[in-house]
């Protein structure tokens, strides 16, 4: 079986390629990349002018909710949402019910992913049993079962001692520890960024330093142990400062930023919908200086990757008083439009940098296949339409949950098609019947 992607601009930073090429896929493998490849015997996908043919996008931070919270999302609905967002691979967090602290749960998730046959799914295991912070989980067995990293996400790795041991032990296994950084005592029962808007709305605040304090701990412990710490969903400018300082002195620290943190600020809590629970996430939307710092870090390379922190919640759980609603928003299907609109078209980043953030770097940091379009590699390819006018309609999202603050947003940028193992698993309905 052959598939020919005709006339696209192929952007493959890992192989130093950026130009007009055809891509021939044979039996799920990238067979040739060259100009004017013969269409003979191949199904032809006409790549439109302005579209980008890039290595399949990888989202290193999603919550698929299965097992245990299938009313929010399942592996099957999560990967359906992923391919619609252009992601050929996702790494899923262990804060399921039960927590993924055991190889049996990892195997269960992988079985569900194999049945769904859409995005690749890379489970991330818990650092501690039940993510309770007491006892180290069996990281070795978990890695053997398929875990690519470890975290107690949803909460920080509880103590400096546990973090130290986890970094040492995971370092032995060659995988990073991902940390959800917040000092629990400073966070308290906060629900919004500490500042004028939280004060005006009477919401309990979480200062940016609640995050950066933990980032600083983690950078120090990574330095102590020579382990690799990856900072999840970074939001505060002080955290970025700590990451930069760590990188400057050679500490193995990497970090990610979620699209909502380079797009929105806490001002959005006041209007157009006051107390919109779809603006409640953890870490919270911060102030303009933080949002701008995240963009600077993304532009200058201090931020390694963009990850969505896709956090589905059932509508019933979000239609509550603000302080009672759960934290988090879905993100898989809005990531590409937001990256294109807020970063690429504003001139903050180049196309090459965008591809690094969305696939090259996640593949490198978590040692995943993909992140490149190498001849002989599985054909995981995303075709982006960076100029596509997209109107976000949350009701039409393929995720089981619709908890997004971007309903009705007009954004420039979208996904044309998603290809996994040479199979076109998603074509944007606006192009259906037009490009094939």
């Amino acid at each position: 079986m052959k598939l020919l992607l005709k006339n696209g601009r192929v952007v493959d930073p890992a192989n130093g390629r950026d130009g007009e090429f055809d891509v021939l896929v044979e039996d799920g493998i990238v067979a040739r990349i060259d100009k004017n490849l013969p269409a003979e015997g191949a199904e032809v996908f006409e790549v439109q002018p302005g579209w980008l043919v890039v290595p399949g996008l990888i989202d290193a931070h999603v919550h698929l909710r299965e097992p245990g919270q299938e009313h929010k999302e399942t592996v099957a609905t999560g990967v359906r949402s992923a391919v619609a967002g252009g992601f050929t691979a996702v790494a899923c967090m262990p804060n399921t019910d039960p927590v993924n602290d055991h190889a049996g749960i990892t195997q269960f998730i992988l079985k569900k992913a194999a049945e769904a046959k859409l995005s690749r799914v890379y489970p991330i295991g818990a650092v501690s049993l039940g993510s309770k912070g007491d006892q180290l989980a069996e990281l070795g067995e978990q890695k053997a079962a398929g875990c690519i990293a470890f975290t107690d996400d949803g909460r920080p790795v509880a103590t400096a001692l546990l973090m130290r041991r986890a970094l040492e032990y995971a370092g032995m296994l060659g995988v990073p520890i991902i940390d959800h950084c917040e000092d629990p005592s400073l966070k308290g029962d906060g629900v919004a960024h500490e500042g004028y808007h939280a004060s005006a709305l009477g919401l309990r605040g979480i200062p940016g330093m609640a995050e950066s304090l933990m980032v600083e701990r983690d950078v120090s412990l990574a330095e102590l142990t020579n382990g690799h710490v990856h900072i999840a969903h970074m939001s505060a400018r002080q955290s970025l400062r700590a990451v930069r300082a760590g990188k400057e002195r050679g500490v193995q620290v990497t970090c990610e930023v979620a699209p909502h943190h380079f797009t929105l600020t806490d001002e959005a809590l006041e209007a157009p919908i006051k107390y919109d629970t779809n603006l409640k996430m953890n870490p919270p939307l911060r102030e303009a200086a933080d949002r701008d710092a995240m963009i600077d870090g993304i532009a200058d390379g201090s931020v390694d990757l963009i990850a969505t922190d896709h956090a589905p919640h059932h509508a019933d759980e979000k239609v509550l008083e603000f302080d009672r609603a759960p934290f988090g928003i879905v993100g898989l299907e809005t990531a590409v439009p937001l990256v294109c609109d807020k970063l690429l078209h504003t001139g903050k980043i180049t196309v090459k940098r965008m591809i690094e953030l969305l696939t090259v770097n996640p593949a490198r940091i978590f040692k995943l296949q993909g992140g490149s379009l190498s001849v002989g590699a599985p054909a995981d390819i995303t075709i982006l339409a960076p100029d596509l006018q997209t109107t976000v309609k949350t009701a039409a999202l393929l995720s089981k949950s619709k908890n997004s603050p971007f309903d009705g947003w007009e954004l420039r940028g979208g996904v044309a098609a998603t290809i996994i193992d040479g199979r076109v698993v998603y074509t944007n309905p606006v192009f259906a019947g037009q490009s094939r």
Binding site: S199, L201, L203, Y275, L320, E321, F322
Partner: protein, 331 residues
Amino acid sequence: MTTKTIERVDQIPTERTPATRLRSRHLLGIAGLDADEITLILDTTVAMKEIGGRAIKKVPTLRGRTVVNLFFEPSTRTRTSFEIAEKRLSADTLSIATATSSVTKGETLIDTVQNIEAMSPDMIVMRHASSGAPELLARVCQSTIINAGDGMHEHPTQALLDAFTIREHKGRLAGLKVAIVGDLMHSRVLRSNVLLLKTMGADVWACGPATLMPKGIERFGARPTTSIDEAVEGADVVMLLRIQHERMHGHFIPSVREYFTLFGMTEERVRRAKSDVIVMHPGPMNRGVEIDSEVADGPYSVILEQVSNGVAVRMAVLYLLAGREEESLSA
């Protein structure tokens, strides 16, 4: 049984000038009111207060209207005040407190309120521990929503009754120095009062321990200070806010004893204010914590007047929101 023919508040004609009518059909906070609307409420309160002074303290203004007081947080003063106001306007009224509601059975706020709405009330007066709960209701409910205090956000009728009380004594709000002292961070009374007093042109000072100072308070329009002397110096009005004993648990204050030493309103401190200062407290008071008994019971204390005026202000709010014509009042 009579056939139900209650006109909905939102169907009442709106072709009236801003000075005689509130723009919103809800009272969610002071934040939504302009100076004309605040003045309208305060002026209407004068007429309502007169009713409370009569031998027969009842007018038929809200006859046939149903008002539900939904109190998800303990309250004696505010709930009683609303109930009396509603009864004086002849509304059919009932009060629901958390202990007897379905909320304890795990029902959501919206489900609870929609069940009440299915019985066609005209207005819902709500007190809730979560900031923004009235906004949530206003988005899904047909009824007029009156915020009787939401979390740390707003308590608009308290600010209105405070303003009315100040105006009775000073004849104006503009240009007055008002010092608000106490637990600023957790106080909905602070937020509503600062918004109202700034809108009306007062000079508002907010004083309390640094640990209880809300971030960005200067953007509300209040002048923050941790110096009680600076706050009270030359003040026309000193308003005290309750210090909850549990604040010691969040390390906000070491002890109520020390709070009193540093911030407690004593006679000596009141003497720094203008000679005709009035001292206010939204209640419930902690004598010997934020206020010395000598001050609470002293000649400049208007604390009980505030409570009396609360009924009249709430009558005015209910009346204006119901959108009844003035003439029905004089019937």
